[in-house]
Amino acid sequence: MEGELAHIGAGLAAIGSGAAAIGVGNVAGNFLSGALRNPSAAAGQTATLFIGIAFAEALGIFSFLVALLLMFAV
């Protein structure tokens, strides 16, 4: 029974991936809307874009980590 509950918990932790997807979409979408307004400044900001995406993604990774721990360590 406990193992099954852990699997349910892992599935619930996967919701965090969806939340991270919203965050990454926000970053990329806002970058695009800014870039289309001023395309000449966009090229210099791609590094910032990827750093922003990486930080938004990091919190999704923690939920993935929790899911992994529930699947294999509990």
Binding site: I51, A58, I61, F62
Partner: protein, 251 residues
């Protein structure tokens, strides 16, 4: 779990995570610290590929670059510019290290895309070592270059005074969580992508959905080529960001 899946007729005939099993290259004994495994083989191939590109690319230098020289110069210029732009001009001394990191990860990712190969960077053991090396390097560099002033990284002087202790706790936690997110981002992305490809491949055994499954495999493979490069890029650029924090800890 793998044995359960094998029994179903027409469903998954292999488990999607089977591709990540570490097995000895010669014979089948237990995997010890010095056992030569498929991970060892593919890491060695990665290093050989990197050395081959950089040595062959720079040996026959000409004014009009050939294919190898173009790729070598492109990679060199790309990383050099990244280090200069993100980490600052005084971080150029760390360029060889960052270039090595990028080339190793990008080649390991791309070699892992060859069907039947083994993706070394999809294992946490590999990426955690890479990320811990970056973490230790950055911390040591920070303390050597700035001394105790490096701790100013955790003391946000632009925030109101009552908030600073709380922010300091958050900053310390986020500093120590860096190697975790740094390593699991790379391994998690690659592992998940390769597992999804295998899941689609498993559906190809059912005749009704096999055209869709093959289309899915192709589409995911295309996405994985993109992800392989972007994850190597993100790993490298985060190394540069951490290095910038270590060289200039004031916010």
């Amino acid at each position: 779990m793998a044995t359960e899946a094998k029994g179903e007729a027409g469903g998954l005939v292999f488990h999607p995570m089977d591709q990540f099993i570490v097995s000895p290259l010669f014979g089948d004994g237990p995997v010890g610290l010095f056992t030569i495994t498929n991970v060892t083989l593919w890491m060695a191939l990665t290093i050989i590929a990197v050395i081959a590109l950089m040595v062959l690319g720079t040996s026959g230098r000409s004014t009009i670059p050939g294919r190898m020289q173009s790729i070598g110069e492109l990679a060199y210029g790309f990383i050099y510019k990244m280090v200069e732009d993100v980490a600052g001009k005084d971080a150029v001394g760390f360029f060889p290290y960052i270039m090595t990191l990028f080339m190793f990860i990008v080649f390991a990712n791309f070699l892992g895309l060859i069907p039947g190969s083994f993706t070394t960077t999809s294992h946490f053991a590999v990426t955690v070592v890479l990320a811990l090396l970056v973490f230790i390097t950055v911390t040591v560099v920070g303390f050597v270059k700035n001394g105790a002033a490096f701790l100013g990284l955790f003391w946000v002087s632009s925030a109101p005074l009552p908030l600073r202790p709380i922010l300091a706790i958050i900053e310390v936690i986020s500093y120590f969580v860096r190697p975790v997110s740094h390593s699991i981002r790379l391994a998690g992305n690659l592992m998940a992508g390769h597992a999804v490809i295998k899941v689609f491949a498993g559906f190809a055994a059912i005749a009704a959905v096999s055209p869709l499954a093959i289309l899915g495999v192709t589409a995911m493979y295309g996405l994985e080529i993109l992800v392989s490069f972007i994850q190597a890029y993100v790993f490298t650029i985060l190394t540069c960001v951490y290095l910038k924090d270590a060289l200039h800890p004031s916010h």
